[in-house]
């Protein structure tokens, strides 16, 4: 029997006349009658869902990050090996645990025994991993999820929760990512899924749901941090039969991937949050606005919607509550400006994604002029925990003003890249050094860009700031979606500002003047500075443009776009000045300041490979005598007049004889 099916004829549940306890009954049932046969049938199907017929569960992280690291061939190898070594074992493609640095990850668990996690798995290691594990030895594992004492070698392998990357985390929104099969509604329900929805529909009025979320102090995790309970309340209060609930899954900042990770790894959690939110505001139609460039996320969300609909968790009269809702996935065309609610609404309506002035706010006039609420993936993923466990439990973690946990994405020059979920209010230092392991390669930490292109760049001196909405805003950054890009001494700050301005200039919708022309004007200035053509007045021009763009742009894209420039002008003014008046790029990244290339005659072997590579005939050879042997050898010289500083000779030289001159 499938877990989602009726246990026997005594069960009255049908999709047309649903039983309110349908979800709870799947795992704890049967609830309406007592029958040992039914109970064991349910337990049996739970066991088979998790461990297959062979009592063995093998999972591979096949999120986008896992696939990029080569999870598909590992999965294929596992399937082949398992069919020979343990036929009937359950092989599952899961999402990502957040530890992207350790992909490809494989977890092997024999029922009742120690679950072992292997990292950096390649297809040729698969057979050995399975053989060792099946012989009762966890040797070679990266970490253990728990220790049972049933396996040999457990003492030498750390627990997953003791690893530095996981030790400081408090996982809620992404707690099931990497554990469950994202395409299986059964596994989500076994993990406790849809019990929050059951509780909301059976025991709570929409107002009580809103109160609970307000009491939990949940704030929007997409950027601005608007209180979620208040947002729902404002929309509920607006009279009207037709309302819409939208989930924003259009994550687009460079360096942020928490929404992708959440929805790829645990799409039903997002959907459950969406259904509860729709119930709270009184919407009967929902949309999930997904980035088309994140196809796996779109596919998993679409599967979740279809499965939920098939099992009566979407549609008419959900769980017999009288509440009806349908949800449609919408593929976005990939515009950063859709983070602005009114632009997203225009896009869903089939119009050009351009924001309009607010008020009227979407809560009163949104999609097709009807009251609408928009929450992002991560916000909705917190809702089931709040409703199932209550606001009091949820508020145990977090800072005084902001409760709960937040997923941050560590990217850039950091040892352990990935997504970590930590209590709101943790310091940047803990996040980057304790969890992320600091800067790799012995390089010096320089700065951190937080909040993506709308955020700011903070120096070492600001690392002890607690990460919450107010503190970051005061420091000139924003929480944004929570992307953390770590920069080391090799990063040029002016070039970084250029990168983000380039992004916002390209992503501006073009509607209002300051954002359309002003950002391009700023980009031109910063480009000039990186090309060595900056003048001291340029800094005033940048400040003047930043002020007006931030003051008078129509939407938040424009208002926050100057942040990378204003924050770097505050904290790294000396780097701008070095480019403008010092005639150099301190990080040696802006190649325009490089004086040229020189040949280290001691290393040059006269092989002429550089000359073959040179497109401007700048390299010639002179005869010399080798210092040791006295034999005649050729040595390269570079004519600085002809050299165009393309760097091809430097890349080509097998002996490292060609060096940059600064």
């Amino acid at each position: 029997m499938n877990l989602m099916d009726r246990c026997c004829d005594k069960c009255t549940h049908t999709t047309t006349q649903p039983c309110p306890d349908y979800v709870t009954c799947r795992t704890q049932g049967p609830l309406c009658h007592s029958d040992d046969g039914c109970r064991s049938r349910i337990l049996g199907s739970i066991d088979e869902t998790l461990y297959g017929k062979a009592g063995l569960r093998v999972t591979v992280g096949t999120s986008t990050c896992g696939l990029a690291s080569g999870a598909k061939p590992v999965y294929d190898a596992l399937r082949e090996q398992l069919s020979a070594k343990a036929p009937g074992a359950k092989l599952v493609r899961t999402g990502c645990m957040g530890s992207c640095y350790a992909e490809v990850m494989v977890e092997v668990e024999q029922r009742g025994s120690t679950p072992a996690i292997y990292s950096g798995v390649t297809p040729d290691k698969v057979a050995e991993i399975l053989d060792t594990y099946l012989s009762g030895n966890v040797g070679g594992a990266y970490a253990l999820r728990s220790k049972t004492g049933a396996m040999r070698g457990e003492d030498s392998i750390p627990l997953l929760d003791d690893l530095p990357f996981f030790k400081h985390q408090e996982r809620d929104a992404i707690k099931s990512c990497g554990l469950i099969d994202p395409k299986s509604i059964e596994e989500y329900i076994i993990a406790g899924g849809y019990t929050a929805l059951t509780r909301a529909l059976k025991e709570m009025t929409p107002e009580q749901v809103i109160d609970e979320v307000s009491k939990a102090g949940l704030r929007g995790r997409g950027g601005a941090g608007f209180p979620t309970g208040l947002k729902w309340k404002l929309c509920r209060q607006v009279p009207g039969e037709t309302k819409y609930m939208i989930c924003n899954a259009d994550e687009g900042d460079p360096g942020a991937f928490m929404n992708r990770l959440t929805a790829e790894g645990d799409p039903h959690r997002v959907l459950e949050g969406l259904i509860i939110a729709a119930y709270a505001i009184g919407a009967n139609m929902g949309y999930i606005f997904v980035r088309a460039e994140k196809p796996l996320m779109a596919e998993h969300l679409a599967t979740a919607i279809n499965d939920a609909r098939r099992r009566g968790l979407l549609g008419e009269n959900i769980l017999g509550s009288g509440f009806s809702l349908d949800v449609k996935p919408m593929l976005s065309a990939g515009a950063f400006v859709c983070g602005e609610e009114t632009a997203m609404i225009a896009a869903i309506e089939g119009k050009r994604a351009m924001p309009r002035p607010r008020p009227p706010f979407p809560a009163t006039r949104g999609l097709w002029d009807m009251p609408t609420t928009i929450n992002n993936v991560e916000t909705l993923a917190h809702v089931p925990t709040i409703i199932a466990g209550g606001a009091d439990a949820y508020t145990k973690v977090g800072s005084a003003k902001s409760k709960g946990t937040k997923v941050y994405c560590l990217a850039g020059k950091v040892t352990r890249t990935g997504a970590a979920e930590v209590p709101v209010g943790m310091t940047l230092r803990q996040l980057i050094f304790d969890i992320g392991g600091g800067v790799p390669g012995g390089k010096r930490f320089k700065a951190v860009q937080i909040g993506g292109p709308s955020g700011g760049c903070l120096p070492e001196g600001r690392l002890d700031l607690p990460l919450d909405y107010e503190t970051l805003q005061d420091a000139g950054a924003i929480m944004g979606s929570g992307g953390i890009i770590v920069l080391d001494e090799d990063t040029c700050i002016v070039d970084l500002a250029r990168y983000f301005l380039n992004f916002t200039t390209a992503e501006s919708c073009g509607k209002c003047t300051p954002c359309r022309v002003g950002l391009k004007a700023m980009l031109d200035v910063v480009e000039r500075i990186t090309e060595g053509e900056g003048v001291p007045e340029d800094l005033d021009t940048l400040r003047k443009l930043s002020k007006t763009i931030a003051d008078s742009s129509l939407c938040a894209l424009g208002r926050t776009a100057p942040n990378p420039v204003t924050s770097t002008l505050t904290y790294f003014l000396d780097e701008y000045q070095a480019h403008i008046t010092g005639g150099t790029c301190p990080s040696r990244l802006c190649k325009h300041f490089m004086k040229g290339y020189t040949v280290d005659v001691a290393l040059c072997k006269g092989c002429e490979l550089c000359a073959k590579e040179c497109t401007s005939e700048a390299i010639s050879f002179s005869q010399a005598r080798d210092a040791k042997t006295g034999k005649p050898v050729k040595k390269a010289t570079i004519d600085p007049e002809r050299c165009v500083r393309c760097g091809r000779c430097e890349t080509r030289c097998p002996f490292g004889a060609i060096k940059e001159v600064w």
Binding site: R352, R356, C509, G510, C512, T513, P514, T548, D551, L554
Partner: protein, 272 residues
């Protein structure tokens, strides 16, 4: 029901559905505007009419911001003026055509604004590149389209979509590369343009100009008064050929101008 608000220290009584601009204009307080037009829904595109509501993080456009009780507005403090100046400078510096050639019924809207705000001609340019030059489209017998004079205020798009519902003019591209196009980047005549001329009415810079009306203004006035013109309405290219009417290029200029004039006068189309 009336609402009290304060603009530049003056306590004013207003109706709750009004915008800041409405109230200011009603009370003789001057706020410069550019993209807003009495016939069109305000869009808040140009950001010339920004005012200070005392918010640290932003100014608001007077044309789109509804009033609320107790609102305190400053329409001309230094922060506001500086913001307006920068916007005018950006528009001037980025213009594809020579700013002196902008013209709408003898008014040069950008240069007038520059003068009003004290933007000096000999200032340091904020942006060195101007919008890429585009050819003039003069094939339509009654509308001249000169994209280099466009400041992307969007009035023509609103007029074409909101007043006439033709949907011929729209935006293309995004950000700095955004343009206004007819049809799928076609010449007006091929784009399904009905030659109603509404865009020439609302365009503030002369990027859309009524060619024929300038030529035959006197004659139009005479005929319109007698009401003797058949208002052929503004039929599209394909509709004309289906009805056996000659293509627009072959219709005499005077007749076209009359058609356009007549169509514009038929607000709501009840005379059609």
């Amino acid at each position: 029901m009336s609402v009290e608000i304060t603009i530049d220290g003056r306590k004013l009584s207003a109706r709750p559905e009004q915008t800041i601009l409405d109230v200011a204009q009603e009370n003789g307080i001057h706020i410069p505007t550019l993209c807003t037009h009495p016939k069109l829904t305000p869009t808040g595109v140009c950001r010339i009419c920004v005012v200070d509501l005392g918010r640290k993080d932003r100014l608001e456009a007077a044309c789109t911001t509804p009033i609320y009780k107790g609102m305190v507005v400053e329409t001309a403090n230094e922060r506001v003026l500086e913001s307006r100046r920068v916007v005018v400078e950006l528009l001037l510096d980025n213009l594809g055509a020579d700013a002196a050639t902008l013209d709408k019924d003898g008014v040069n809207v950008l240069l007038d604004l520059a003068e009003e705000l004290g933007v000096k001609p000999e200032r340091r340019r904020l942006i060195t590149g101007s919008r890429p030059k585009k050819p003039v489209d003069a094939r339509n017998p009654i509308i001249i389209r000169d994209p280099d004079k466009c400041i992307l205020c969007g009035r023509c798009v609103s007029a074409c979509n909101e007043l006439r519902h033709y949907g011929v003019l729209n935006y293309e591209g995004r950000g700095y590369d955004m343009n206004i196009v007819s049809g799928v980047e076609q010449a007006l005549l091929e784009s399904g343009c009905a030659s109603c001329g509404e865009c020439t009415e609302v365009c503030p810079t002369g990027a859309f100009r009524p060619l024929a009306r300038e030529l035959v203004q006197g004659e139009i006035d005479g005929v319109i008064k007698t009401g003797s013109v058949y208002p052929a309405s503004s039929l599209t290219h394909s509709a004309r050929s289906k009805l056996g009417l000659p293509p627009l290029e072959e219709v005499p200029t005077l007749e076209l101008a009359l058609i356009a004039e007549k169509t514009r006068k038929c607000e709501g189309g009840e005379q059609r």
